[in-house]
């Protein structure tokens, strides 16, 4: 991650001391200190280009004075600054008069002229003078917005000297323009205007205003926050490894010394060749999708071909570590073939991790796998399983049935190891877990297991709130989070909107403005979603409307599951691997943590063996889970068995006879 400089430098501005962070440009700090500086080409969210020269100030460095444009002057030493000396005033006034002569009717020019004491409209009147109030003043906001907000270079300066103007390539309308309207938004004169709104939103301006906020955040904050443009979601591989949350060997561990082989630095250094916006959402400024080009495949029907691979994202890399395959070539190849065959990388990786652990524990052997050696880290044989799955031949077909199927089959085959097989099969409701270790976060265990669609990756938000921040300590706090976040998620999903712009970039003052419980929701970004809906449809949304809309669908999903004989209380309980250590080696690898927790809870464990301690921990953790499960049900308006109450359906206005009929006997 780019790290901001933190060295402070003391400077004197018009005789007053100001502290400024080294390398910061001067102008923003002057403005912050309420010093008026006229500007034309400066824009708070864009890189300065120093072209209008109005922001000029006089600086004194080591006894020598000179004029500099403050917007692009980086402070590196203890300078003295004069913002309003005679030289400066004279310079600005003359400049402003030239601008006024050329663009006499443009409002922003008139304003700047007033500020600089320039009154003579005619002094610089010439054949270049443009009378339009909406003339282009060549500030360059638009070209920078196109480049910095959405990483395009559609619009640019053309011509030289007096012929300099703004244009698209070859003076034509460029078909690559995504119509994002960023250029029009930042244009201070109205020289660029939006002339059509093809989707006919009720209030295009409202949508534009909120969208532009995200654009500006992406341009200015993303390099220091999540680096979505640089590496996409892969940025968290190394983070999860550091917090003991990266699944390693079927979720046994949360960290591994070889993670550097598959982290975002490795991807960036040796793999990613494409990071350009791929327009998965037209005009999206996040551009989180990355691609690897010219990748030569080692196996399968396209062996020897050079291909383009879309990814890998976080979950795909974490799937590799989960299979014990710390090998980036493997990661890219399984990513490619999963995409090509239409197989989900997460389900595949989690399922294979289970198969590998079963293989290493003698639940299955080479007779079952047609001779394949499926130990953790078996890259080549794992790819063979993937190809078999697609060909419909061999052991891969079995694996393709998923963990739930395999778990039942193998538990029956080995009754003496049935409990172990069930404990390590990481699925709930037939869906394989996504790639986060949830053992140390009760809320996350519930987030995954109570999700109606199964433990899918977009339920993985509570882990930091709970485990690291300790911000939802009580069962009620957890239940509240388990109410709000899944419903928010369901809600914007229903509108077909993407999640990334909610929390993969965050307003700089989010935590200053809100207490932690509220800050976690990122209120300004939630509002962006509401305003988008309002701008499109004309209908206002607030938190209650949003949650109720979503709760309707959520309850319908629940009842439909019940109709299909699913979604029972037991279907909401995670396998123990998601809750705590299943094996002795797993317990002992984090012994300090687990022993410490048991002692803190008041258990006397001094002369207990590892299996004894594991049993105590297991009992305790499942009891905790039971409490959180029930608290979450209660908050949702469901009974202790997780069945929606009839009053709740009434409240939501969905107490249709055919639904009531299903849940009535279960009340």
């Amino acid at each position: 991650m780019a790290k901001k400089k933190t060295n402070k430098i003391n400077i004197l501005v018009d005789g007053k001391p100001i502290t400024i962070v080294e390398d910061n440009f001067l102008l923003p700090d002057l403005l912050k200190n309420n010093i008026a500086i006229p500007t034309l080409c400066h824009h708070k969210d864009l890189t300065p280009n120093g072209s209008c020269r109005l922001c000029i100030v006089e600086i004194e460095e080591r006894g020598r004075k000179r004029l500099v444009t403050s917007c692009n002057f980086p402070v590196r030493s203890e300078i003295k600054v004069e913002t309003n000396s005679e030289v400066v005033k004279k310079y600005r006034q003359n400049l402003a008069e030239m601008y006024l002569g050329r663009w006499p009717n443009v409002e922003i020019i008139q304003k700047v002229a007033r500020e600089c004491g320039a009154t003579d409209k005619d002094k610089y009147k010439s054949y270049l003078t443009e009378d339009s109030a909406h003339a282009c003043i060549l500030c360059g906001h638009c070209t920078r917005a196109c480049n910095e907000f959405i990483q395009e270079d559609i619009i640019d300066f053309a011509g030289r000297g007096i012929k300099r103007h703004i244009a698209m390539p070859f003076e034509n309308v460029d078909p690559h323009c995504v119509g994002c309207t960023s250029c029009a938004y930042v244009c201070p004169t109205g020289a660029i205007q939006v002339s059509d709104n093809r989707n006919h939103p009720v209030n295009a301006k409202l949508i534009q205003e909120h969208g532009m906020k995200v654009n500006a955040e992406m341009a200015t904050l993303d390099p220091y926050q999540c680096r979505m443009r640089e590496v996409g979601t892969a940025n968290i591989v190394e983070v999860m490894n550091n917090y003991d949350l990266l699944p390693v060997k079927n979720f046994k561990y949360g960290t591994h010394e070889d993670t550097w082989r598959i982290d975002s630095n490795m991807m960036k250094k040796s793999y990613f060749t494409q990071g350009h916006p791929d327009q998965c959402w037209h005009g999206c400024s996040m551009a989180c999708a990355k691609a690897v080009e010219d990748f030569e495949l080692r196996t399968g029907p396209y062996k020897g071909h050079k291909v383009i691979v879309d990814g890998p994202e976080y979950e795909t890399a974490a799937g590799s570590s989960n299979m014990g395959c710390f090998d980036m070539d493997f990661c890219v190849e399984y990513n490619f073939y999963c995409d090509t065959y239409g197989i989900d990388t997460i389900s595949f990786a989690t399922c294979m991790a289970f198969v590998m652990e079963c293989f290493e524990n003698g639940i299955i052997d080479k007779k079952d796998t047609d001779g394949l050696e499926l130990n953790f880290g078996a890259t080549t044989d794992t790819l063979e399983i993937l190809h078999q799955m697609a060909r419909g031949k061999g052991f891969g077909v079995e694996v393709g049935q998923g963990i739930k199927y395999l778990k039942n089959k193998w538990a029956e085959k080995h009754p003496e190891k049935a409990d172990f097989v069930r404990d390590i099969g990481m699925e709930v409701k037939g869906l394989e877990f996504s790639e986060y270790v949830s053992k140390e976060s009760l809320a996350q265990q519930a987030g995954y297991s109570l999700a109606l669609k199964g433990p899918q990756h977009d339920e993985a938000w509570l882990i930091f709130m709970d485990m690291v921040n300790n911000q939802i300590p009580s069962f009620e706090d957890k239940a509240e989070a388990l109410y709000y976040f899944p419903l928010f998620r369901t809600w914007f999903g229903l509108y077909g909107l993407c999640k990334i712009v909610w929390n993969d970039v965050v307003p700089a003052d989010n935590a200053q403005k809100h207490p932690p419980q509220i800050a976690a929701k990122i209120p300004e970004h939630v509002e962006n979603y509401w305003k988008f809906v309002e701008g499109m449809t004309g209908r206002k949304v607030d938190e209650k409307i949003m949650l109720d809309e979503s709760a309707k669908v959520h309850n319908l999903q629940k009842i439909m599951g019940l109709m299909l004989g699913k979604n029972s209380f037991e279907d909401d309980i995670p396998p123990y691997r998601a809750v705590g250590p299943v094996t002795e080696e797993e317990y002992e690898s984090r012994q300090e943590r687990y022993d410490g927790q048991l002692k803190e809870l008041g258990f006397d464990i001094d002369d207990k063996t590892t299996p004894e301690k594991m049993a105590i921990l297991r009992k305790y953790r499942y009891e905790q889970y039971d409490k959180v499960q029930k608290a979450a049900y209660k908050r949702r308006g469901w009974n202790e068995k997780g069945i929606p109450k009839i009053e709740r359906l009434k409240e939501l206005g969905i107490d249709l006879p055919e639904l009531v009929e299903i849940i009535e006997p279960l009340q």
Partner: protein, 66 residues
Amino acid sequence: MLTINNRDKIEWQPGMTVSDVLNKMGYNYSLITVTVNGVLILEEDYDTYEVEDNAQISVFHLAHGG
């Protein structure tokens, strides 16, 4: 002794800055907010802000990713 997020304890050392605390905790997350005894510390001050002994420190990680 310093208390982090109302739960974790680490040994205090004279001259310890916010950056030292974050390093000690292994917190390398990109969306972090720190308060020391309720006072918000800006990122640009992490390297220079010294924490006192017995301080209550909150290190708030904002969820992202997935």
